[in-house]
């Protein structure tokens, strides 16, 4: 025969041999299967009873974003747009504004994000925004974005992204790079 040479050696010839009497009974096979199931009753559980019990998150878990403030409570984000250009899902939009006199305690830089929105339905939680940020402003956290019936509710604005002054979000575990140098 002049068949083509197989490219891999993974080919298997299917055998179609007649079943023996014992095999035709099926019972031994069924009992064998039940025995395996029975043995599992005495094994340690691999699952947890969510939501009563939750698993521990890895320190670098990528969940809902936070826009950080600095030690003095000023917003770090300067609306530079690098997170938005890095985002593969185009989930981030922002509008910048100029800081006016008297707002120095609110925003760290001369320019700040007046609006900043992340569409959590678009976001794939890849963390590229965090990596792109030159101001250590955006971080992903171990919080899960809650489900909702309304699609609009998934567009998170600054109200839900910027951390509250009295409820700071700890990101030290995922940030020990010390990116911001003293210049």
């Amino acid at each position: 025969m002049n068949t083509m040479q197989s490219l891999t050696d993974r080919k298997k010839v299917v055998s179609k041999k007649e079943m023996t009497f014992m095999e035709k009974l099926y019972l031994p096979a069924i009992i064998g299967g039940m025995w395996i199931t029975f043995k599992h009753l005495f094994r340690k559980n691999n699952t947890v009873k969510y939501p009563e019990e939750t698993r521990e998150f890895a320190p670098v878990y990528r969940g809902q974003h936070v826009l950080k403030r600095d030690e003095e409570g000023r917003e770090n984000c300067t609306a530079c747009g690098l997170c938005a250009v890095a985002c593969p899902a185009e989930a981030i939009t922002m509008v910048a504004a100029e800081r006016v006199k008297g707002e120095e305690n609110l925003y760290r830089e001369e320019k700040y994000a007046e609006k900043y929105e992340i569409n959590m339905l678009r976001c794939i939680f890849c963390g590229l925004c965090e990596e792109a940020c030159p101001k250590e402003a955006i971080f992903l956290t171990d919080r899960i974005v809650p489900s909702n019936f309304e699609r609009d509710e998934f567009v998170y604005g600054k109200d839900r992204l910027v951390e509250q002054l009295n409820d700071r979000i700890d990101i030290t575990k995922r940030q020990h790079t010390g990116k911001r140098s003293k210049i």
Binding site: C80, G81, A84, A96, E98, E109, E110, K111
Partner: protein, 320 residues
């Protein structure tokens, strides 16, 4: 015609051509960067030293190498000259030093700066700059000031290339803008913030290689990589009327002159295509322009990031 070899590429040029212009005639990688030289402004060059090259042989008659690195924008070619730019380690090292000097007083402002994404200093810093600074002294700082009501000057970012001064000298009839003081204390000034009332003063923004002079009508509005540059034209009595509109959806965020790959304003109808302040600052209504089509942007530029569709979008249809 004289023969000159730049990075092993030979070319014949007119006598009197500078090394930089000869390299630009070859094009591509052999062209040294230039921060202060501007071919459309006679008299520029020789200030920034980023265009340094090594002259390995002075000429046919006297083939001794020049001992120091030469500023290619202000050194003329000689017959039989051999120049090294990319291929010379000395040049790369020297240029790295120049960049370090340029950055000594430069703020770490790119996230705030409107020039980011189209800034020559950013490109240079990316190619040559170290990740760390060795400078320990205080940086020289100034408050941003207004030059007229449409231009913002961030003296912190200025590299003292003098291009804007040449624009003021050559394009405008009365000069009210120049450099005050010397050395470390030199600063661009409009003689006590005298407003520049001239139809072409806005071109300073286009010639500034960094973000020292920026358009106040565009200030902090967006980042260049979110905008779509379109070639547009209009009937203008003062200038060529050929410009680039930087659009976001159907809105024009800013208008600039058309620039070539060296960041210099292109020639329009045989003349340098400077645009007037009316076109630059006042005409933000798309109905005032006829759109010729999307501007070609180098695909390695951040500006071409994320433009999946034809940048014409729907605006084209609506305007026609």
């Amino acid at each position: 015609m004289v023969k000159v070899t730049i990075d092993d590429v030979q070319i014949e040029v007119e006598p009197g051509t500078t090394i930089l212009n000869a390299a630009r005639q070859i094009g591509g990688d052999v062209v040294p960067p230039a921060m202060c030289f501007y071919s459309k402004l006679p008299g520029t060059g020789g200030k920034c030293r980023t265009c340094l090259v090594e002259v390995a042989a002075g000429s046919e008659k006297d083939p001794r190498p020049m001992p120091k690195l030469m500023a290619s924008c202000s050194t003329q070619v000689m017959d039989g000259m051999i120049v090294k730019n990319k291929t010379s380690e000395r040049v790369q090292e020297g240029r790295g030093g120049v960049v370090e000097f340029l950055l000594i007083n430069h703020p770490l402002d790119c996230p705030v700066c409107d020039q980011a994404g189209e800034c020559n200093l950013q490109d240079l810093g990316f190619q040559h700059g170290g990740a760390k600074t060795r400078y320990e002294e205080e940086r020289r700082t100034y408050d941003p000031i207004d030059i007229g009501n449409k231009i913002k000057l961030h003296m912190n970012r200025c590299i003292l290339c003098y291009r804007c001064v040449h624009v003021a000298n050559q394009l405008t009839d009365s000069r009210v803008h120049g450099v005050l003081n010397r050395g470390e204390h030199a600063e661009i000034s409009t003689y006590i913030e005298n407003a520049i009332e001239n139809d072409f003063s806005g071109n300073m923004i286009d010639v500034c290689p960094v973000g020292a002079l920026t358009d106040k009508t565009f200030r902090f509005k967006s980042r260049v990589w979110f905008l779509k540059p379109m070639d547009v034209s209009c009937e203008c009595t003062k200038c060529s009327g050929k410009a680039v509109a930087w659009m976001f959806g159907d809105e024009i965020y800013r208008v600039t002159a058309r620039k070539d790959k060296y960041g210099e304003v292109e020639d329009q109808d045989g003349k340098t295509g400077w645009i007037c302040n009316d076109c630059r600052f006042e005409k933000k209504d798309p109905a005032k322009w006829s759109i010729e089509g999307p501007r070609k942007i180098n695909r390695h530029s951040v500006i071409s990031q994320g433009h999946y569709q034809s940048p014409r979008g729907n605006s084209q249809k609506k305007i026609n």
